[in-house]
């Protein structure tokens, strides 16, 4: 049983019997903390449902007197994002979707193949290779961002030349493609780690038997390992999805203006210095930006926690 399973599935099975007063204190503290963790989200939701004068002139803990969904439609379709011409965050939301789907799929598939090779087809030096790939998980992205900017700039120029020659840039220089490349590369460490640890515990006898039956490298992967990988695929997909959707540093560096992902657009919306600050619209936009990852957490919290723990302590 992994460390995360201990958190998510085992019910409390011990602990000394406490007196009535102690139990009240324990429950009181737990309830108080739950409130502290919940209140910012509740305030966000309530603020997004109030007209602006009620936000600026009222108590943030008060329930909306004039319930309105106008801030939500403003945020989605009309709000001004920085200096961009495009109105509303909807375009940026879909930028993020277009970036996150291919990046998650590619990095997960590569991680699965890498984990398969590193555990079931290991070769001399496989530990060193894995150790070196693991380091990719932990570098501060500041230390790779300048070279990345240079390389992506070069790819962009190649793309322009290709477009002149053939009429198509092959995606080179496209901000979404750039971000997919970046997120796949810097996600490889984690996806490889997840699948390597999972496949290490997979019985080698099954694979040996398949080899004797003449199954090829890819047949074994597709027919034997993949059908048995559902839990780790879910963990990896959730982990990568959350990380890539929530990324800001790469998005703000490599995708400017209309091509920016959701987090960057939200930051531009909230931190514009011009005009009246529309707190209610900002909060609606923030909730929309948080919705996909929150939804994943609500639906598959168990796997979510497992991924985090595996990324931290390799439980």
């Amino acid at each position: 049983m992994s460390a995360a399973d201990l958190v998510t599935s085992t019910p409390s099975r011990r602990g000394p019997g406490h007196s009535r007063t102690t139990r009240i204190v324990i429950y009181g503290l737990l309830f108080l903390f739950a409130l502290v963790y919940l209140v910012p989200l509740l305030v966000m939701v309530m603020t997004s449902l109030k007209p602006l004068d009620e936000v600026t002139g009222g108590n943030m803990f008060a329930l909306p007197r004039h319930l309105t969904f106008a801030p939500w439609s403003m945020a989605w379709g009309e709000a001004r994002i920085g200096v961009s011409e495009t109105r509303g965050i909807s375009g940026y939301f879909f930028n993020s979707v277009k970036m996150v789907v291919p990046a998650v799929l590619i990095s997960t598939l590569l991680g699965a193949l890498n984990g398969y090779v590193l555990t079931k087809w290991s070769f001399p030096g496989h530990k060193l290779v894995f150790g070196m790939m693991l380091f990719a998980c932990f570098i501060p992205f500041q230390s790779v961002i300048i070279p990345m900017a240079v390389i992506l700039g070069m790819l962009g120029r190649i793309g322009v030349n290709l477009a002149d020659l053939t009429g198509w840039s092959f995606g080179l220089g496209n901000a979404t493609v750039n971000l997919v490349i970046v997120h796949v590369i810097y996600g490889l460490g984690f996806t490889t780690l997840f699948f390597r640890n999972y496949y290490a515990a997979f019985p080698s006898e099954l694979i040996k038997a398949a080899m004797i039956d003449g199954a090829s490298f890819f047949q074994i992967f597709r027919r034997i390992l993949l059908p048995n990988s559902t839990p780790i695929i879910i963990v990896t997909v959730i982990y990568q999805f959350t990380n890539i959707w929530n990324d800001f540093l790469f998005g703000s560096t490599f995708a400017a203006g209309d091509t920016a992902p959701m987090t960057v657009a939200l930051n531009n919306l909230v931190n514009t210095s011009t005009g009246v600050v529309e707190y209610n619209v900002n909060m609606a936009a923030a909730i929309i930006a948080a919705a996909p990852t929150l939804l994943v957490y609500v639906i598959a919290g168990r796997y979510f926690v497992r991924g985090l723990m595996a990324g931290a302590v390799k439980g």
């Binding site: 602990g15 943030m60 570098i139 230390s143 929530n246 930006a289």
Partner: protein
Amino acid sequence: MTAMTEREAATAMARRKLGPSLRGWFQDWLPRLVLAPSFLLVLVFVYGFNLWTLFLSFTSSKAFPTTNLVGFTNYVRLWNWTFETDPPSNWYTALVNMGLFGGLYIFFCLFLGLLLAILLDQKIRGEGILRPIYLYPLALSFIVTGTAWKLFLDPRIGLENALHEWGWTSFHFDWVVDPQMMIYCVAIAGIWQSSGFVMAMFLAGLRGVDGEILKAAQIDGASTYQTYRRIVIPIIRPVFFSALIVLAHMAIKSYDLVLSVTGKNPGGAAELPSTFMYSYTFTRNQMAVGSASAVIMLMTIAAIMVPYIYSETREQSR
């Protein structure tokens, strides 16, 4: 090792069927060919790029990278800035803030994480409802977290205003708009976001402690406090270590949280090494200085992570 015998078995199979043909050779090398692209990508984009940044830190690059080497000049500048306190240099502010933010963030995440884990481990009814509440902030991006806390702590419409409306008119809390105190608000938002995760790590540790030991302690008449203080916490010491490493790593990498809580870090008041690196490289046209600061960040993280990864992988193979 079983893995080797598997490979040998496969190779033998391939040989038996195909002989020492090109196809046999291909079958033999196929796994390595599958791994190669990923490994090459990491080699170039992680190791190569780090070396590239290291190289840039020894050049005189301004807005664009150059190859004009200037030795340790950029590091000497950072070193001098480290002691430039009046008026404080951006680098000095970044280091002081890193200490404040990192210290508070790590301490309170560990403290709250352990406290919540111990409280939850007391045969609590409704644990299944409480646990996800402590953990959900982790699903939010730092930008969303920062946006929420910026509103929550805003004195005009947030906490201060709310308490004034409720009659506590002397209450005063404007740190989020006070350049001197902003960094503490970044720490508050960070602690709110990450302490649930530390709670989960500690809870896993606590649930892994053998119940028999605790029963024995109880029979010997140890109080709950004594049991935790003398028995449980020493047993779960490795969890402290893991959590400490993870938190230190996250603190050094923190970037988006500062921008969103403070509203793009006005005047560099909440500067951290990460924001320092970004602004020197991309807005102040001092790419070489930015690179040098990035190298220092990388070195610090490597000093924390490399021994940790080494010990973790060693433990696994044992």
